[in-house]
């Protein structure tokens, strides 16, 4: 926080005292407009979702009519039933749960292991390792989608859920984040444990992990959200609709002309029900998230 001292020109001189009357008036009017601004802002976020929710529980006919839909008309859960059973979103949902849970678990394990290795003070080759890991961060996955596709093909992983679990198995970002968390654990603790004869792995599981729960939670939540929303990898690697994840099934529902022509009618209530299903799990874990996300960003942004 070296900035504070040199960037605080709080030199409010005598000149401003002359305006102090205006200032009090402004100080009174400001909170009001501020409140109005925030209410409008919140409305731009809430109204769209309210619209989606209202349509999702409206009847197919009512949802197809023009007009403003902020309240359910001909209330029914038919849209949810249609999208879950007839459109088959259920399987896509299950696939997403599988990929997300396995992918996130492995990601957290690998990132913490690597993060732990990187805090060792006397590890030969550490600089090289750090460079190796940071190097991967300069290569955004989108930019290697074509060769990644070729690699998955060579490994016979196309059209498998394994391909989805593997892509993003670990990331430089998460490793550095874990390293930054671990760096906050007193090194002496590890030293004394080592002197007592504890193995590296034991020090990791018994000292570092318990003391870095917040770190683990941060990358787990980051990864969870990222995995749940994973899209490009799925359209890249998956052919068969039985292996689609929720996002791609939803995209087919929302924006594609479905080639399975005989299926029941995809009315707005069906589409919006699909959207609600896709966001519900995220809303469920949301309460835990806000705190960790900020923590993650501020720690992750610490420059190497």
């Amino acid at each position: 926080m070296a900035h504070i001292s040199d960037t605080t020109p709080v030199s409010v001189g005598a000149g401003s005292l002359a305006h102090s009357r205006g200032a009090t008036w402004r100080d009174r009017i400001f909170p009001f407009w501020n409140l109005v601004f925030l209410v409008i802002l919140a409305a731009t976020m809430i109204v769209p979702f309210l619209n989606v929710l209202a349509v999702s529980v409206s009847g197919p006919l009512a949802s197809s009519r023009p007009g403003i839909h902020l309240w359910p008309e001909a209330f029914t859960f038919e849209g949810f039933r249609t999208v879950w059973v007839n459109v088959g979103l259920e399987r896509a949902f299950v696939n997403s749960v599988i990929v997300t849970s396995i992918g996130t678990t492995l990601h957290v394990i690998l990132a913490s292991l690597a993060g732990y290795v990187l805090i060792q003070k006397d590890l030969p080759g550490k600089k090289l390792l750090v460079a190796f890991i940071i190097g991967t961060m300069a290569v955004p996955s989108e930019l290697i989608m074509i060769p990644l596709y070729v690699v998955m093909k060579q490994l016979n992983l196309l059209n498998t859920l394994a391909a989805l679990v593997i892509s993003g198995l670990v990331s430089g970002f998460s490793i550095l984040l874990m390293r930054n968390f671990f760096a906050g654990v007193p090194y002496d603790l590890a030293e004394s444990a080592r002197i007592d004869g504890a193995s590296d792995f034991r020090i990791f599981t018994n000292i570092y992990l318990p003391l870095s729960k917040a770190g683990v939670a941060t990358i787990a939540l980051f990864e969870l959200v990222g995995r749940w929303n994973q899209f490009l990898q799925v359209i890249l690697f998956i052919n068969d609709s039985s292996k689609y994840t929720l996002q791609v099934a939803l995209q087919t529902l929302v924006t594609e002309n479905m080639s399975t022509s005989g299926t029941s009618m995809v009315t707005p209530n069906v589409r919006m029900a699909g959207i609600i299903i896709a966001i519900l799990p995220l809303i469920a874990i949301y309460p835990f998230m806000q705190k960790y996300f900020v923590q993650g960003i501020s720690l992750g942004a610490v420059k190497e």
Partner: protein, 296 residues
Amino acid sequence: MRNTIRLMKIHAALYVMLIPVIIYFLVFVYYPLVRGVQLSFQADKLFGPKPYVGWDNYVTAWHDPEFWQVVRNTLIIGVGSLVAGFLPPIIIAVALNELLQITFKKFVQTVVYLPHLFSWVVIGGIWIYLLTPSGGLVNEIIKRLGGTSVGFLTDPTWARAVMILLPVWKGMGFAAIIYLASITSINPTLYEAARIDGANRFQQIYQITIPLLVPTMKVVLILDVLGLLRTFDQIYVMRNAVIQSKIDVLMVYVFDTGITNFKLGFASAVSVMVLVATLIITAITTVISRYEDQGG
């Protein structure tokens, strides 16, 4: 030397721990990188070996007006979002910070943050629906206010505006919370002193809060700049036949040519060019921010 070997022996378990990570990065990051470069020099054939064709794919891309159109689109949409999205989160963070009712503050914080969590399929799906001329909320409101409905996603000018503004809408809550975190960490005595000196609310914000947010602004900007050339999901989900040529961005172009039309070599050449551009941009941003850090 002997010391190194001794240390390596001690830490043997650590190296073992790293093996999966190293293998992953080698196979799924570094090898594809090399393979991508290799592919970019190969001809496109569906079957059999692909002959090397030198710089042909690069030359073809370079002379393809469509390539330049998507470069233009990428820059317009990317830079547009960057500029349009710079101030809103700061304003929101400051506004939230000024708010005294804790419950409402928490509520607004929660709500503005939500869109950031959701995928572009969800956000795109919602807004495609909201923006339809007949039955879409936005146009129904316009109509009720006496206007005529607007083809937001069929008029290329409007569509570009939508593509620029939606990421702002989606991301501003997230950025605002980062800013808010920095604001709350500002030493309250600074405001105290300012108040004693007679500074009003605006002056406090302008003279204390904003300058102290500069480092955070840099971080947010760098993250945005690095994402600029990577945009994919948003456009892929929201495009349609009428506006496609005005909103398709580089990564969508790579996907279309490489995956949909299966011109792997051509698409790889485009990717490599974008990658080089990304590296240059990254280098420039890093240098600038380092320089500023030292200078400031």
